[in-house]
C-alpha cells in the first residue's frame, strides 16, 4: 500500500504496551506478514483479471492505434507478480482455498495454521490499489519502449 502523508503504516503496534510485548508478539511489525502478502496477492490477482477483461474488450474495438502491447506487457507483469506472491504465501504457510466477489467485497477463503479462515477485502480498496500498481508500473517503465 502506498503510504504518503498521514496515510498510516500497514504495520501496527500495541499502544502504550508495545514496550511490554516481545518482538515476536508484534505481528504487524514483522518485515512481511502473511496478511500483507495475501493482500498484495489479491490485488495482483484482480489486476490481472481486470486487464485480461479489458484487453479482450479492446480487441473488439476498431482503434486507430494498437494498445495491445501495452496491455499484454502489463498483464504479463501482473500475472507474474501474482504467481510470485502466491508462492511466497505458500512458503509462509497460507493456502488459498477459494476467492469470490460478493456484492460488497472480495471474500477469500484460506487455510492458515490449520484453521480455515476468511479475509474480506473492500472493492474500493482493491480497485484503488490496482490503479496504484499500474501507476507504479508506468513510472518504473519510464522511457522504455514497448
Amino acid at each position: 500500500m502506498n503510504r504518503q502523508g498521514d496515510w498510516p503504516q500497514a504495520t501496527v503496534g500495541s499502544g502504550q504496551h508495545a514496550a511490554d510485548s516481545t518482538e515476536d508478539d508484534r505481528v504487524g511489525e514483522q518485515p512481511e506478514s502473511w496478511q500483507k502478502t495475501l493482500q498484495e496477492c489479491v490485488v495482483f490477482g484482480v489486476l490481472f483479471k481486470a486487464l485480461m477483461a479489458d484487453l479482450s474488450a479492446l480487441k473488439k474495438l476498431p482503434l486507430k492505434l494498437s494498445y495491445h502491447l501495452l496491455f499484454e506487457e502489463l498483464s504479463r507483469w501482473a500475472e507474474q507478480r501474482h504467481h510470485q506472491l502466491r508462492r511466497r504465501l505458500r512458503e509462509q504457510g497460507c493456502i488459498l482455498v477459494n476467492s469470490e466477489r460478493l456484492d460488497q467485497f472480495y471474500r477469500i477463503e484460506l487455510k492458515y495454521g490449520g484453521y480455515l479462515q476468511e479475509a474480506l477485502y473492500s472493492i474500493e480498496l482493491v480497485r484503488a490499489e490496482c490503479e496504484q500498481q499500474i501507476r507504479i508500473w508506468l513510472m518504473q517503465r519510464g522511457g522504455k519502449s514497448w
Binding site: 502506498n2 503496534g13 499502544g15 474500493e124 484503488a128
Partner: protein
C-alpha cells in the same frame, strides 16, 4: 475508526492520501458542516461539525469530498464481519464504533492486546481504515479508553484497567466522562466538580437527589461500573421510529413548517409499515436556528389507537404543533412514533375504509422501494418549502 468517512474516501482514492481532506455536506453549494476531517486537515485546526466555510478559511488547499453514505454503511458492515471472525459478541454502537466481548476468544487468539493488534491489522489491510481500540473490563470503560487515550496513542491501542482509574481516568476534566455534555458540565462546575475523580468521590445519594437515575449512572460511570453485557441483538427490538431534519433555512410560517411535518410523518410511517409496526405515542419537536439560546419544544401525545397511517399521524402532529409553537423561526423539526405494537391486528372503523387505506399505502411503499423515495411524492412537496425530493437523495441527512 479514525476519521471514518475521511479514511474510507482516502482508501478508495489514492490521489487523496497525501492531501488534507474533509467530508462535508455539499461542496458544490459550499454549504453544510464538516462530517469528518482527516488527521492532515485536523493539523490545520479543522474540527468535526464546524461550518465548511470556516474549515476552508483555516486550510486554503483543503479538499472537500461529498459524503457517500451508502459506501460508509457498507464498509461498516464489512468491518463488523471482520470483528465477527474474532468473537460472536459484537455490538454495533454507531456507524464507526462497536463493542466486542473477547472473553471467550482469549484461548484462540491470545491476550486482549494481541487480539487488538490482529484486529487493527486485518481492518487496515482489508479496508484501508485505521481503527483505535480501547480495552477494558466493561463497555463504558472501553469506550472511555478509546475516546480519551487510544486516539492519542500513535499505535492506537490502550488498556484502561479499573484498579488504575485514580491515575488514568480520574485526573481528566469532568466533561471527558462518557455521558457528560456541555450542559451537564456547567451543572457540575456549579457544584464544584471539575474532574472525573471529584465526581467519583461524591456520594451517589447527592447525585441521585439532584439528577435522579442519570446522576447514579454518571457516578457509576466515573467509578468504572457498568453491568450491561455486549449484546449483538441490542438493536433488534425497536422502541421507537423517528425522523429529524435540519432545514436549509429558517421557516417562519405554519404553512411551510407543516409541509415538512407531513413529509416527516410520511417517512416515519413508511418505516413503521416496512417493519410491520404501529405506534401509539407521537412526539413532535422544533428548534430555532440558535441552538445555544434554545427556542422551540419537544412534546408528545397518546394517540387514540396505534397507527402507521401518515395522514392520521399528520393530523395529530399538527395539533401538537399548533398547541406548542410560539411563532418563532424553526430550523429543525423532528417527528417520532413510539410504544410500538405489531400491525397484524387493528380496529376496523364504520366511517373509514382502513383496509383500502392500507392497500394504498402498501402500493406506494412498493413503488418507492423499487424506484426510490422520490418516485411518488405529495404535491405539497413540490413547493419551495418541501424537502422530500432533496431528502430522497440522502441517507440520514447526508448524500448517498
Amino acid at each position: 475508526m479514525q476519521s471514518f468517512f475521511a479514511s474510507v474516501e482516502k482508501a478508495a482514492d489514492p490521489s487523496l492520501r497525501d492531501k488534507p481532506i474533509v467530508v462535508a455536506g455539499d461542496p458544490e453549494r459550499r454549504s453544510g458542516v464538516v462530517l469528518a476531517a482527516c488527521p492532515l486537515a485536523k493539523a490545520y485546526g479543522v474540527t468535526t461539525a464546524e461550518a465548511l466555510w470556516q474549515a476552508q478559511q483555516k486550510c486554503r488547499h483543503l479538499v472537500v469530498v461529498k459524503p457517500r453514505m451508502e459506501m460508509y454503511v457498507r464498509m461498516s458492515l464489512q468491518i463488523t464481519r471482520i470483528f465477527e471472525s474474532f468473537t460472536d459478541l459484537v455490538e454495533p454502537y454507531s456507524i464507526d464504533e462497536q463493542f466486542l466481548d473477547v472473553t471467550g476468544s482469549l484461548a484462540l487468539f491470545g491476550d486482549p492486546l494481541s487480539i487488538a493488534r490482529q484486529i487493527r491489522e486485518r481492518v487496515w489491510l482489508e479496508t484501508g481504515i485505521v481503527c483505535r481500540i480501547g480495552i477494558s473490563e466493561n463497555k463504558v470503560l472501553a469506550k472511555m479508553a478509546c475516546d480519551n487515550f487510544a486516539k492519542k496513542q500513535p499505535q492506537g491501542v490502550f488498556w484502561l484497567k479499573r484498579n488504575e482509574l485514580a491515575e488514568t481516568l480520574w485526573p481528566l476534566p469532568v466533561e471527558k466522562l462518557f455521558g457528560v455534555g456541555s450542559r451537564m458540565k456547567r451543572h457540575f462546575h456549579r457544584i464544584g466538580v471539575y474532574t472525573i475523580g471529584q465526581l467519583a468521590r461524591l456520594s451517589p445519594e447527592v447525585l441521585i437527589r439532584r439528577w435522579g437515575a442519570n446522576g447514579e449512572v454518571l457516578w457509576r460511570t466515573a467509578n468504572g461500573l457498568d453491568d450491561s453485557p455486549v449484546s449483538p441483538r441490542t438493536h433488534a427490538t425497536q422502541k421507537g421510529i423517528g425522523h429529524h431534519m435540519t432545514l436549509p433555512r429558517d421557516y417562519y410560517t405554519a404553512a411551510e413548517i407543516k409541509v415538512v411535518l407531513l413529509e416527516l410523518c410520511e417517512e416515519v410511517c413508511r418505516r413503521a409499515r416496512s417493519k410491520r409496526l404501529m405506534g401509539s405515542v407521537l412526539s413532535v419537536g422544533c428548534r430555532g436556528a440558535d441552538f445555544e439560546a434554545a427556542t422551540g419544544f419537544w412534546r408528545q401525545m397518546k394517540l387514540f389507537e396505534p397507527t402507521h397511517d401518515a395522514m392520521t399521524l399528520f393530523a395529530a402532529a399538527c395539533r401538537l404543533f399548533e398547541q406548542h409553537w410560539q411563532h418563532t423561526p424553526v430550523r429543525s423539526i423532528g417527528v417520532s412514533l413510539s410504544q410500538l405494537v405489531a400491525d397484524d391486528t387493528y380496529q376496523l372503523s364504520l366511517f373509514e375504509d382502513k383496509p383500502r387505506q392500507r392497500a394504498l399505502a402498501a402500493a406506494i411503499d412498493g413503488i418507492r422501494a423499487r424506484y426510490g423515495n422520490a418516485a411518488v411524492l405529495r404535491a405539497v412537496s413540490l413547493l419551495d418549502a418541501g424537502q422530500a425530493r432533496e431528502r430522497a437523495r440522502k441517507i440520514g441527512g447526508h448524500y448517498k
